[in-house]
């Protein structure tokens, strides 16, 4: 039984395509199921005659610069689909096998529109901060998430970007928090860790690296690590990206529990985030640093206990080197969160610690970025990854120069000291930090404790680096909290 055929005849103005192209469209649409006849052609007298012969003459008077679209099909659905296919074929850009692209793509917008994928894609922006805004805005406009590695992005721009991203249903990671692992792909500074059920939302780059590496050591993997930027939990930004990242992980089937890693958040933001987290179906645990909860390692251990996973002995290498009488703490950090953790743990024992990122403003060290003189006497912890010290030079995880200079200066000053440092391994970091640090430690001759953040699978290899540093006399710990406590023990032994 054959249903009565249905037909579509229309004339369109302002559309022109050459006859070869139109014949291709007619042939392709004609091959569709349920389509019995197709004529897509410019409405020239010849083509109108053809159409009349097929019983598809237009009702209105046609002119040769109009496009005739005439289709017959077995039923309405096939007809509608065929007409839609004609429209799509006319609109489709025929990608020429033309000459190779010789014109460089200059912006994230151009790069994303040249991308030929329907799959997940995101942008990574590490251009100088003031210019990062337009590149990130391109990604959001294209409906893609973006990791802004750049620092120096004005906070009001960060807020505007994150609001726009929220409205567009995408995520802004960063700025100034160069860590993310998305579906196993490490972006920016990140370690090679196993995949697993724990999602991290991190307003702290090195904090997220410390946590993910300890979890990996305990045999627990991460689903995703979403770095939301060091300022995200400030009053000004209000946790915009944290809230979006939590929602993303809540909807992600690979994520069974979430750990929120941050420096001390603004109290109002902390409660808003806690409220939002309580609404989610995935359990959210906080590892926000504060004087009351100063220890990321303890937070990891708490999570492991909750998961019923045994807490391993965190890897370390100890040395026989001891501190001289009256020694002070000299902390030279690349990671801001790790520096904070060290100060939070040490302050109750040592008292005031001076810093360029101090626990209290009156302990601040004024730093001249063009010639950083960080040789203040007494207990000092310096964050060399702070914005003021990375203007015009690479991050200390890539370029060790400033830290090695500081080490040499302390040694030369004659002030008795215990040096506490972090060395962060993983993608994007110095490919062999021990190669420069071990000789510098030997030359300095000071007792040194190193928090070595990384995994065996990292390109640098945790054990390889630990052994090289230990051979130079350093005490080495995978946990920054343990490293800090060990430095305090050395100082205590010296008092």
């Amino acid at each position: 039984m054959t249903a009565a055929p249905v037909r579509h005849v229309s004339l369109r103005s302002g559309v022109y395509a050459d006859s070869v192209r139109l014949m291709q469209v007619s042939r392709d649409v004609g091959a569709r199921e349920g389509v019995t006849a197709v004529l897509v052609a410019m409405a020239t007298p010849l083509n109108l005659e053809l159409a009349a012969g097929m019983g598809l003459a237009p009702d209105e008077t046609a002119s040769g610069d109009q496009l005739l679209v005439a289709v017959t099909a077995e039923d309405d659905d096939a007809l509608a689909a065929a007409v839609a296919a004609v429209d799509a074929a006319l609109a489709a850009r025929e990608r020429a096998a033309g000459p190779a692209q010789t014109v460089p793509l200059r912006t994230i917008g151009a790069g994303l529109s040249a991308l030929d994928t329907d799959g997940p894609a995101l942008a990574v922006v590490s251009v100088p901060g003031p210019y990062a805004v337009a590149e990130a805005a391109d990604a959001i406009a294209a409906g893609r998430s973006v990791l802004v590695f750049s620092d120096g992005v004005p906070v009001e721009s960060e807020v505007a970007l994150k609001r726009a991203a929220h409205d567009a249903g995408v995520l802004v990671m960063g700025p100034d928090c160069g860590t993310a692992i998305v579906s196993g792909l490490a972006l920016g500074f990140a370690n090679v860790v196993r995949r697993g059920p724990v999602g991290l939302v991190a307003a702290s780059g090195t904090g997220a690296q410390q946590v993910s590496c300890l979890l990996d050591t305990a045999g627990v993997g991460v689903s995703h690590v979403l770095g939301v930027g060091g300022r995200d939990l400030s009053e000004a930004v209000g946790g915009l990206a944290t809230l979006d990242a939590l929602a993303l992980l809540d909807a992600d089937p690979a994520t069974e529990r979430v750990l929120l890693v941050s420096k001390p958040p603004a109290p109002s933001v902390a409660s808003a985030v806690a409220e939002a987290a309580a609404e989610l179906s995935v359990p959210v645990r906080s590892a926000a640093l504060s004087p009351a909860t100063p220890d990321l390692t303890a937070a990891v251990e708490g999570l492991l206990a909750e998961m019923g996973v045994a807490v391993p002995e965190w890897p370390s290498r100890t040395s026989t080197r001891t501190a001289a009488p009256g020694a002070v703490l000299k902390g030279f950090y690349a990671g801001g969160t790790l520096a904070d953790e060290a100060m939070l743990l040490a302050a109750p024992v040592l008292g005031d610690i001076r810093s360029n990122t101090p626990l209290r403003p009156e302990l601040g060290l004024v730093v001249d970025p063009s010639a950083p003189d960080l040789s203040a006497r007494g207990h000092v912890v310096v964050d060399f990854g702070d914005d003021a010290l990375t203007v015009g030079r690479a991050h200390p995880m890539i370029d060790p120069t400033l830290r090695l200079e500081a080490l040499a200066r302390v040694a030369a000053s004659g002030e008795p000291a215990v040096v506490l440092m972090d060395v962060v391994l993983g993608h994007g970091a110095d490919p062999d930090p021990a190669a420069t640090l071990a000789p510098a430690l030997r030359a300095a001759g000071l007792p040194a404790v190193v928090a070595l953040v990384g995994t065996e699978a990292d390109p640098q290899g945790w054990s390889r680096q630990a052994d090289a540093l230990a051979a130079a006399g350093a005490h080495v710990f995978a946990s920054n909290a343990q490293a800090t406590r060990h430095a305090l023990d050395l100082l205590g032994a010296a008092r």
């Binding site: 022109y16 033309g98 014109v103 200059r106 997940p120 993608h427």
Partner: protein, 466 residues
């Protein structure tokens, strides 16, 4: 959201150490060749990038440009069409007075005074013009465009184009042909005789023919087709001119005029490879005028030159002109003329590039690139580059060699700043000395100053609107 649904493809701008780390993990990474912006305060660039109105405003502006049609509905003298009073002359480009006018503009203004009978000698015309007794006004202030000097006087006939969608109108005078012509600054007897014939014969015949046509000529459709026939619509209009002749001929032949006049009209049109330009320009003007006054839009609506200054306007800043000193084109010269004979850039014809054709569709016109001093790969690269300056691709204006990709349409001031690339314009070259006429053709770019000023003004408007 798709972010977590699988291993993402990455597009990266900036430090290459991160891309290298991604590649080491086997990721699909596409680095863009990012450079610091060519100009613009970082705070201005950020303000525009973050303007919440911008995406929608630019979409609106682009949609209006794309939707505009263009029908040739009438041919009438400028006096009637524009209500142009005696002793008033229109000219190309942003506003300018006699004192600052270059040779070809002065030559054309002198010629127009002679043509209108306001002066009987060159000296008298110069005196009138220098004394300010002839009012000068930009074509663009009257929904009008004029190629080269663009000088339009009350007795000159104009094409009247209408957008069938919005009813918008745009106007342009009739093309005189090549060589010694008024628009190139020539004003000798040959020029004045031709202008008189155009006034007395060509104009009336075209009017009668156009008015007699059952269906108005769809100029936009001709423009779309000529791009597929080796024209780019600015410096090469051969196919477009012939198609126009084909469309108009039956009606011209039926005009009640002496057969010698009809033959002269057909011969004139057939012998003028740029006959279509004066139809293409108001077609582009109609489309760009449709996008006037869209607050928050960073799209350029006018690029135009008066022989001394280059001026642009944007959709987001209304009728303000942003100007800078016009550059001198680089290209090939007729006869024994050389670079020293060329006047700085002149004419409203850059409306074609503003609309996304001309220099923007150089890839469609391989035949022209050698004439303007380039190679075929240059032409392809030029069009490819323009895609990064523009907001959209116009599906009605396709470039065959790029897989029938739509022309790069809607210049984005923000993209010009960020890429540091300037729009590419194909253009004729007028002699710098008044009276010379055409000396060559070539390529030219706007001065950066126009875009710098426009960017700062758009950013100021954004802040004021916030």
């Amino acid at each position: 959201m798709r972010l977590l649904s699988g291993t993402p493809t990455v597009v990266a701008a900036g430090v290459d150490v991160f891309s290298a780390a991604l590649r080491a993990q086997g990721a699909d990474v596409h680095d863009v060749d990012w450079r610091p912006p060519g100009f613009g305060e970082p705070a201005d660039l950020a303000a525009l990038a973050l303007d919440r109105r911008r995406a929608a405003a630019n979409r609106t502006a682009v949609e209006r440009v794309m939707a505009a049609g263009s029908h040739l509905v009438d041919v009438r003298p400028a006096r009637d069409v524009l209500g142009l009073p005696d002793r008033t002359l229109l000219h190309a480009g942003p506003p300018i007075g006699w004192a600052d006018a270059s040779g070809p503009l002065r030559g054309a203004l002198i010629g127009a005074c002679l043509f209108e009978g306001w002066a009987s000698t060159v000296e008298e015309a110069e005196r009138l013009l220098a004394a300010g007794e002839i009012a000068l006004d930009p074509c663009h202030h009257h929904r009008t465009v004029g190629p080269m000097a663009g000088v339009t006087s009350p007795s000159m006939w104009m094409y009247c184009l209408e957008d069938p969608v919005t009813g918008g109108q745009a106007f342009c005078n009739l093309n005189e042909g090549l060589g010694k012509v008024l628009r190139m600054g020539a004003y000798d007897d040959e020029v004045l005789t031709r202008l008189a014939w155009m006034r007395d014969v060509l104009g009336p015949v075209l009017q009668a023919a156009v008015r007699s046509m059952a269906e108005p000529l769809d100029v936009k459709a001709v423009l779309a087709q000529m791009l597929q026939m080796g024209d780019e619509g600015h410096n090469r209009n051969r196919a477009g001119s012939l198609m126009t002749l084909r469309e108009l001929s039956p009606a011209i032949v039926e005009v009640d005029a002496p057969s010698s006049d009809v033959a002269a009209v057909l011969r004139f049109i057939g012998g003028n490879e740029h006959f279509f330009l004066n139809l293409g320009m108001p077609t582009a003007k109609l489309a760009m005028d449709a996008a006037r006054d869209v607050p928050g839009s960073t799209m350029v609506t006018v690029m135009s030159r008066n022989g001394t200054e280059f001026g642009i306007r944007t959709a987001g800043t209304g009728d303000r002109w942003f100007t800078g000193p016009a550059n001198t084109p680089v290209g090939l010269f007729l006869g024994d003329y050389g670079p020293d004979d060329a006047n700085p850039d002149i004419g409203d014809s850059a409306i074609m590039e503003t609309y996304g054709v001309g220099g923007f569709t150089m890839a469609a016109a391989p035949a022209i690139v050698r004439f303007v001093g380039g190679t075929v790969p240059d032409a392809l690269a030029t069009t490819e580059r323009m895609y990064q300056l523009t907001l959209a691709e116009n599906p009605a204006m396709q470039v065959p060699i790029l897989g029938f990709r739509g022309s790069p349409t809607g210049i984005d001031v923000l993209a010009v700043a960020r890429t540091g690339w300037l729009p590419q314009i194909n253009t004729g070259m007028a002699g710098r000395v008044a009276g010379t006429g055409q000396v060559g053709a070539g390529l030219v770019q706007p001065p950066r100053e126009c875009f710098e000023q426009a960017l700062a003004a758009l950013a100021a408007e954004t802040r004021a609107a916030a």
